[in-house]
Structures are given as structure tokens and as C-alpha cells.
């Protein structure tokens, strides 16, 4: 219990540190919103011309986006420090973490508050509202109950993958490009329905690097889309299971990394 209290105070301190520069905080949110406005703009342009993408209409595409934004927002809230983890190793800052009587993972995870979360939650909620509306989504009680479960599963997938790729730094030291590819570039894959890719890639995004579970599969469930075009119809309920598997594997990879770790001596 005591350690949870410490984590929270670590976290609260990092929020306070961020809020020091209020103007910059607000502009940051504005910049993120403008970035997504650009992405939505391109989506509108394409759908205006082509009407749908592999059977996904505008409302459905926006809904797909909203699941993604929620998952990414919460993942950033919890796992943001992992983006620059290799720097912690190279600078020897991780040594400081190891000598404290708290779990190293807990300390790394709670040491930084990422403001982009607020922006992502704004985008997620707005997209959820308009997406449901435009796509005529029928919110049953079951769907409402499942929504947080799916988001949690999605966060475990995104966060777990982030933790796994971060752990690579224990062996390679510098792995910035790899981390950025896995965290940011791969996001681009699920901006669109995964069915636009060839079968090999669909398989990869389902079973090897399972980000299709973040939004593509659960969107079938929420939008009452027929699952017949999928690799298997049952996959639309697979998000929580995929999340549990990924997070478990990632914690093992992190622990293996910590055991392997030798200080760089800097």
C-alpha cells in the first residue's frame, strides 16, 4: 500500500512540473488537435471522393478512430516515459531507479505525466460521439458495459508492445528509431480498416503484432458489422484476451531485461 502512495506522489509531482508552463501546455493541446484535424481532413477528402474504404463509411471510420484515440491516450498516460527509456539507460539514470526500494517498472511508468492524454481524450470522445451518430450506432447496455473492457484491453496491447520494445534497450542501449517505429509509425496501420491490407499483413497485425485488436476487431462488435469477412468471426471479441497475453509477455521481457542489465557506467 505504501508503495502505491509513493507512486501517486511521483505522478502528482510530474503533473505539477508539466503545469509550470501553462501557455505551453495549452498550445501543446492545440498542436495535437491540429495534427488530428489534419488527419481527419485527409480522411474527409478521401471519403468525399471515394465514399467508403473497403465498405467502411465516414461514421464507421470516425468510430474506428475514436477507439484508437482512447487507447493511445490512456497508453500515453501510463507508459509515456518508455518513449525515451533508452536515454535513461545510456545516461545511467536507470541505476538510480534500481537502488530505490520500489519496483523499477513502477518508477519508470509513474515518473512522467504526458499532457497529450487530455488531447487524445478530447479527440476520442468527440470522435465517439460523431462516429456513433453518423454511423447510427445502437448503444445497448451490453455494448456500454463492454466499452471500458475493450479500451482496457486495447491499452494493455498498446502498452505491452511499448514495454516489450523498450526492453530491447537493455541489450542494444540505443533503440530510439525502433521505439518510434513501433509506437508511432505502426499507429498509421490502424488508422484504416485492417482489411485493406493483404492477408499476410492481416495475419501479422492479428497474431504477431496484434494492434488490429485495438480498434479494427472490436469496431465490428460495436458497429454490428458482420464478422464474416474477418480471419475468424470470433476475433471481434478478442481484445481483452489479446491484451492479457501481450501484457504478460511484456512484463516477462522487461524482467529479463532488468536481469540482463549492466550499467553503462556513465
Amino acid at each position: 500500500m505504501e508503495s502505491i502512495k509513493i507512486y501517486f506522489s511521483l505522478f502528482a509531482t510530474s503533473i505539477k512540473a508539466r503545469m509550470e508552463y501553462k501557455a505551453s501546455f495549452l498550445f501543446y493541446i492545440f498542436a495535437i488537435l491540429s495534427f488530428y484535424a489534419g488527419q481527419f481532413g485527409l480522411l474527409f477528402i478521401l471519403l468525399n471522393r471515394f465514399h467508403e474504404i473497403k465498405g467502411w463509411t465516414l461514421g464507421e471510420m470516425i468510430f474506428l478512430y475514436s477507439l484508437h484515440a482512447f487507447a493511445f491516450g490512456f497508453t500515453n498516460l501510463i507508459f509515456s516515459q518508455l518513449v525515451n527509456f533508452d536515454k535513461m539507460i545510456v545516461d545511467g539514470e536507470f541505476d538510480r531507479v534500481l537502488v530505490r526500494p520500489l519496483s523499477p517498472l513502477g518508477q519508470v511508468v509513474f515518473s512522467k505525466f504526458e499532457v497529450s492524454t487530455a488531447a487524445h481524450l478530447i479527440i476520442g470522445s468527440t470522435a465517439l460521439y460523431f462516429g456513433s451518430h453518423v454511423a447510427d450506432l445502437e448503444w445497448t447496455v451490453y455494448k456500454v458495459l463492454m466499452f471500458p473492457v475493450v479500451v482496457l484491453g486495447a491499452v494493455m496491447i498498446a502498452g505491452g508492445l511499448r514495454l516489450m520494445v523498450t526492453s530491447v534497450a537493455f541489450w542494444t542501449l540505443r533503440n530510439r528509431t525502433l521505439v518510434h517505429t513501433v509506437i508511432f509509425s505502426s499507429k498509421e496501420f490502424i488508422n484504416y480498416p485492417v482489411s485493406i491490407y493483404n492477408l499476410g499483413m492481416q495475419f501479422f497485425l492479428t497474431f504477431i503484432f496484434p494492434i488490429a485488436f485495438i480498434n479494427f476487431y472490436p469496431a465490428h462488435f460495436f458497429l454490428d458489422r458482420s464478422g464474416t469477412g474477418l480471419l475468424h468471426p470470433a476475433l471481434e471479441m478478442g481484445t481483452p484476451i489479446a491484451g492479457a497475453v501481450v501484457i504478460t509477455v511484456s512484463i516477462f521481457s522487461w524482467k529479463a531485461g532488468v536481469n540482463h542489465y549492466q550499467s553503462t557506467g556513465s
Binding site: 498542436a31 477528402i45 471522393r49 473497403k54 542494444t172 533503440n175 528509431t177 509509425s185 496501420f189 499483413m201
Partner: protein, 266 residues
């Protein structure tokens, strides 16, 4: 600036990049990932219609555009946080003492960085794409030479954009939001994903008024053979006008920034 010195800076910056081989390999995967996503997207969009030409692009033409625009974009890779770091750690003061122009030194550093990415990433990605996708690029010497001029002009514009954004560090503690905002504008208006031919008419005034299209879209369309040589010449003239305009902004900001630096006492 003395050309010999310029080349020296280019080569130092190039060699700095060579040290990170693992990053470079991941960089190829990362760049190719984008090419794969967008070619898949266009194929999915085009497959929904019997018509084969949309907004002047056949499927082959749009896939070629997707590959080449990404190739140009990756060739433009530079580290846009150099100036920010120099301002933050105070080493910018050294630049005032040096007898060389800071702008040209920065440009040289960018060129070295970009040349490396061009050889290590653009070339392999284009070769892989030629084998994997149905693309067509007209090979005429005169066109290629005109493209090269337009490409260099576009490069100088991007470098100036980054220079201007970087100099904001003189006035703001954190410039990451500006960088994100710049990235958002660039991605949308430079035609990095969707060529400007697909944009709705009401955006025309905005697109035409901004310099972004001269950075990616026009060089790419010249290479693709979508602009006649006569058109290409007038495009290059406008590019040069933008170079003068943005160059003046760079000079003004650098001078104002220097003053600000002296006030702070360095």
C-alpha cells in the same frame, strides 16, 4: 560561406549518422511501412470503382505518387531539434563567435544528415517498391535534371522551415508544440499523403497561399511527368521566390534572436 568548409560540415554530419547501423535498418522498415500502408489504401479505394481514373490519376499513377512522395520525404529527413538543443544548452553562443554563417552551417549539417538517409533509406525503399508495386516513372535526362533543381529548391525550403521553427526556441521554453503544428501543416498541405489534385476547391486559396506544396508536391509531380517541362520551369521560379521570402524571414528572426540572446546575457 566557403564551399570547401560547407562540404566539410556536410561530411562530418554524414559520418555522425553512419554510427547508428541498427537504427538505419529500422529506418528502412519504418519508411517502407508508410509506403505499404498508403499503396494498400489507394488500391482498396480504386478497387471499389469501375472507373480507372480519379482526379487525373490512374491506379499506377497514384501508387507511383505514393512511393515517390515518400521517397522525396525521406530524402528530406533532418534533425529539426538541433537549434533547440543549442539554445537550451547555451552552445548557440559559440555560433556567434564563429566566422561562418549560422544558417549555412545549419544547412550543411542538414544536408549531411539527409544525404545519409537518401542513400541508406530512400534508395533501398525505392528499389523494393519497384519490385513489389506496379509503378511507372518516366526516365528522361532533361526531366530528371529539372526535377533535381526543383528537389533542391524544395529541400532548401524545408530546411528554412525547420530553421524558422527551431529559432522559436529563443522566445519559448518549449517548442515541441510548434514542431508538431509544423508537422501537421506540412503533412496536410505539402501533399505528403494525398496529392493536392484530390483536394476540394474551397481549399485552393489556402493551398496556393502556403509554401508547403513547393516542398513535396511539385518536385514529386515533376519527377512523375505530371507537369510539362515548361510548367516545371515556372514552378521552379515560384520555388525560388519562396526561397527568397523564407530566407528573409530566417535572416530577420536570426538577427532578432541574437539580440534576445545578448539581453539574457548568453
Amino acid at each position: 560561406m566557403n564551399p570547401k568548409l560547407f562540404l566539410k560540415f556536410v561530411s562530418v554530419s554524414f559520418q555522425k549518422q553512419v554510427t547508428y547501423r541498427f537504427d538505419c535498418f529500422v529506418g528502412i522498415v519504418n519508411g517502407f511501412l508508410y509506403v505499404f500502408i498508403f499503396t494498400s489504401l489507394w488500391k482498396a479505394l480504386y478497387s471499389q470503382f469501375d472507373t480507372t481514373v480519379h482526379n487525373g490519376y490512374t491506379l499506377t499513377a497514384i501508387v507511383s505518387y505514393a512511393v515517390l512522395v515518400m521517397a522525396v520525404r525521406i530524402s528530406f529527413t533532418m534533425d529539426d531539434s538541433i537549434i533547440y538543443r543549442k539554445v537550451m544548452d547555451g552552445s548557440i553562443a559559440m555560433e556567434l563567435v564563429r566566422p561562418t554563417s549560422f544558417f549555412f552551417m545549419n544547412l550543411a549539417e542538414n544536408v549531411g544528415h539527409s544525404l545519409f538517409h537518401m542513400m541508406a533509406r530512400t534508395v533501398p525503399i525505392v528499389i523494393i517498391s519497384i519490385f513489389l508495386f506496379d509503378i511507372s516513372i518516366p526516365f528522361e535526362v532533361s526531366r530528371f535534371l529539372v526535377f533535381l533543381v526543383s528537389f533542391i529548391a524544395g529541400y532548401v525550403l524545408v530546411s528554412m522551415l525547420n530553421f524558422i521553427a527551431g529559432l522559436l526556441a529563443f522566445w519559448f521554453v518549449e517548442i515541441f508544440p510548434f514542431m508538431l503544428f509544423k508537422y501537421a501543416l506540412f503533412t496536410f498541405f505539402a501533399g505528403g499523403i494525398v496529392p493536392l489534385d484530390f483536394f476540394p476547391e474551397f481549399l485552393d486559396p489556402l493551398v496556393k497561399f502556403l509554401p508547403f506544396q513547393y516542398m513535396l508536391y511539385f518536385p514529386t509531380t515533376i519527377l512523375l511527368g505530371r507537369a510539362s517541362l515548361a510548367e516545371a520551369h515556372s514552378i521552379i521560379i515560384v520555388q525560388l521566390i519562396w526561397v527568397v521570402i523564407m530566407g528573409s524571414i530566417c535572416t530577420l528572426m536570426w538577427n532578432a534572436g541574437k539580440k534576445k540572446l545578448i539581453i539574457q546575457g548568453g
